[in-house]
Symmetry: C2
Subunit: 416 residues, 2 copies
């Protein structure tokens, strides 16, 4: 068939950059990937999940293998709400099981929210940098991602944001802004968390200009802080964000069993949550009830909390290995800079000014020659253009392989 036979959406959706990276890895089997945002296979609870399956079978309730409710497993939704409220230290929005829905990873919630809040041409304000897969979702839907300015350490630049708002107002586009997207805990890609003060400042400024704008807080990495704390409270507990619908997303794919693909969204607005549920009903009328039952079993038994402890210490240790290896290889002396992460799976490195880290630039070619993959920074920035930064992940590799990956990356970086 011809592209002209596709819908406008069909003509727009494109080969994702993530697939390009994955293909590069598949085509060269010896390559070490510091690109993939995968979790560490050695931390995945294969035996534990089998034991949960055995216990579900012994319990004999076959409804875990039946269709479930579109909104998801009630006990799991209640547990998600309780954990969220406990981390927030309060519940002014009244989040409970009725305001949580289970999704196919948090990715589905991102797609649902963007689809239901924005028409093609509408604007989503995103951080600089931001989660690159969401940028591709927006592009596919024809929605414009507009970056909010950031300061030299990645902190929100409120003066710059004020100027951006003024410019949008002047061009008559301010009303097209329908959503603010924050990856506020151990961000993918920057590993940075927004402090309570920074998040409050953003809320005050944005709500003054856009009183009813929706906010979507992507908390995928919130429980992967190495200190075990939940960090700043979510937008649910911040009066600075009152006035428009609030969504907070999370997932068990990073914090428990990746391949079960169970995520969640909580929403304080019944209209928006209802529409997200309707549209999910059209897409699949419910996430795998069995996958949900396995996760719920782990949450109830305490296996989830024990796994979380293991993951935090594993990723803290691996972060240290990658960070130390890069410094040992002399990357800083060559003009690179970065901060050691305090949670999550990533280091976000800035190369020398003017370096092009993109697919067609010299660093990527050198890295492919050395046999190491990274995520180019330009993918993570809403305004296309040359970028001198890279995302390195310590999710997959460990020990000697991780050190080898760091050496290869450093050799590539020092050669350009």
């Amino acid at each position: 068939m011809q592209p002209s036979q596709l819908s406008a959406l069909g003509r727009r959706v494109d080969f994702p950059a993530i697939a390009r990276l994955m293909n590069a890895a598949f085509e060269r089997p010896g390559v070490l990937s510091l690109a993939a945002g995968f979790t560490d296979n050695r931390t995945l609870p294969l035996a534990e999940v089998a034991e949960a399956a055995r216990e579900l079978a012994l319990a004999g309730d076959a409804s875990v293998l039946q269709y479930g409710a579109n909104q998801g497993n009630t006990a799991l939704r209640a547990a998600v709400a309780a954990r969220l409220v406990a981390m927030d230290g309060g519940n002014p929005c009244g989040i409970d099981a009725s305001r949580v829905m289970i999704t196919n990873g948090s990715q589905q919630a991102l797609h649902l929210a963007a689809s239901l809040l924005c028409d093609p041409g509408d604007i989503v304000l995103v951080e600089t940098p931001t989660y690159f897969v969401f940028l591709e979702v927006l592009k596919g839907l024809g929605i414009r991602a507009v970056p909010m300015p950031a300061g030299p350490s990645g902190e929100p630049d409120l003066a710059g944001l004020g100027n951006l708002i003024d410019a949008l107002r002047a061009s008559g586009e301010l009303a097209r802004v329908r959503l603010v997207y924050l990856v506020s805990y151990h961000s993918n890609p920057s590993s940075r968390s927004l402090s309570l003060e920074e998040k409050a400042g953003l809320g005050r400024l944005l709500k003054a200009a856009l009183p009813t704008v929706a906010v979507l807080e992507d908390a995928a990495y919130r429980e992967l802080g190495y200190d075990g704390g939940g960090g700043a409270c979510s937008v649910f507990a911040m009066p600075e964000w009152d006035g428009g619908p609030r969504l907070v997303l999370g997932t068990f794919t990073k914090t428990y069993a990746t391949g079960l693909k169970v995520g969640w969204a909580a929403c304080d607005d019944d209209l928006l949550l209802g529409r997200m549920l309707h549209y999910k009903g059209h897409q699949d009328f419910g996430t795998s009830a069995y996958a949900q039952a396995l996760v719920q079993h782990a949450v109830r038994s305490g296996a989830f909390d024990r796994r979380l402890e293991l993951l935090r210490s594993t990723y803290a240790r691996k972060c240290g290995i990658l960070d130390a290896a890069l410094r040992r290889e002399g990357l800083e002396r060559a003009g690179w800079s970065w901060e050691r992460a305090s949670g999550g799976l990533y280091l976000w490195l800035a190369g020398p000014a003017g370096l092009d880290t993109g697919f067609d630039g010299p660093l990527f070619a050198a890295a492919m020659r050395e046999g190491v993959l990274y995520v180019p920074g330009e993918l993570c920035v809403a305004t296309a253009g040359r970028d001198n930064r890279v995302r390195l992940s310590f999710g997959v590799l460990d020990g000697a392989e991780l050190e080898d990956g760091a050496r290869r990356f450093a050799r590539a970086a020092l050669s350009v």
Copy 2:
């Protein structure tokens, strides 16, 4: 928030009729449901899935709990293709693993295909009656479902279809027809299968008028024919459907383990398949790898084929119970007629002419008083309006409960 803050899609997506039925069931616990298209809990392989989980754990390959490829488990895709080709008795379209994608039930494939082929206002030609959840998907997307006429026994009315095509041509709308949707094996709701001749006749007529129109064959119930055969070959093996992209969908939710939510789509057109994969990447970048591994384990071990035998004999038996009970209660003498199913989960009954079986009609009220639920025929017909038919499912109930459900339905039917 206000509806005006939603996207056009967000304003359109509506409370699904299926949810109304499910709520009616939840609100009245004693009610017997002949409405739900659920499978029989007693047939679900709870112990078998736990044993598969144990074997996956013993094998020790943690990648089954990792992210998988967006397109799905390669071995499972190869098995799907091989089964399809075997049932078709030939493979002129070259269907293999590369042309199969795994989806969250076949429902996701329905949503992807409609989204990528049709803009709001475009037309999908559907059978009369057709799968009512797909009608709701189309309505949500702003796509018009136009029913193809059927004869008195549900057979395609080719003369009527010719007139419909002429009318669409005359009104300038023929080019808006982007997709033909066929539920051609033991259809939900009618239990009817299209014969090879009927499907060929539709292909010839439609392809003469619309040479490049896409066809989507929903084969969810194909392997649930009680005689164990795959019926007529799919559109892949029919030259009458040459010229436009062809999609065939299926699912393991009806034929193996419902709650794993694993379905599939096969497509002979690389552009369309590619765009469906891109859009799936935006929605979830891959169905649960663990759920796929469990299904793949069952297919490889032969457990799936053994289960299929059990399901066929179970549903054949239950079909017989419901059919006999309805006849014993005198429904035929009261002007009702139907055919006993030869596969699938449904009986499709026509009541006396002029009877309104809808939610607000006398039969539904009587059925609620008797404590039995059914699916009103009007939900299954693209042109809204009074309908005298009902879908009864023998998926969930069995034995005395199924007979009791039949008695309650008959009492309601005889009272109006």
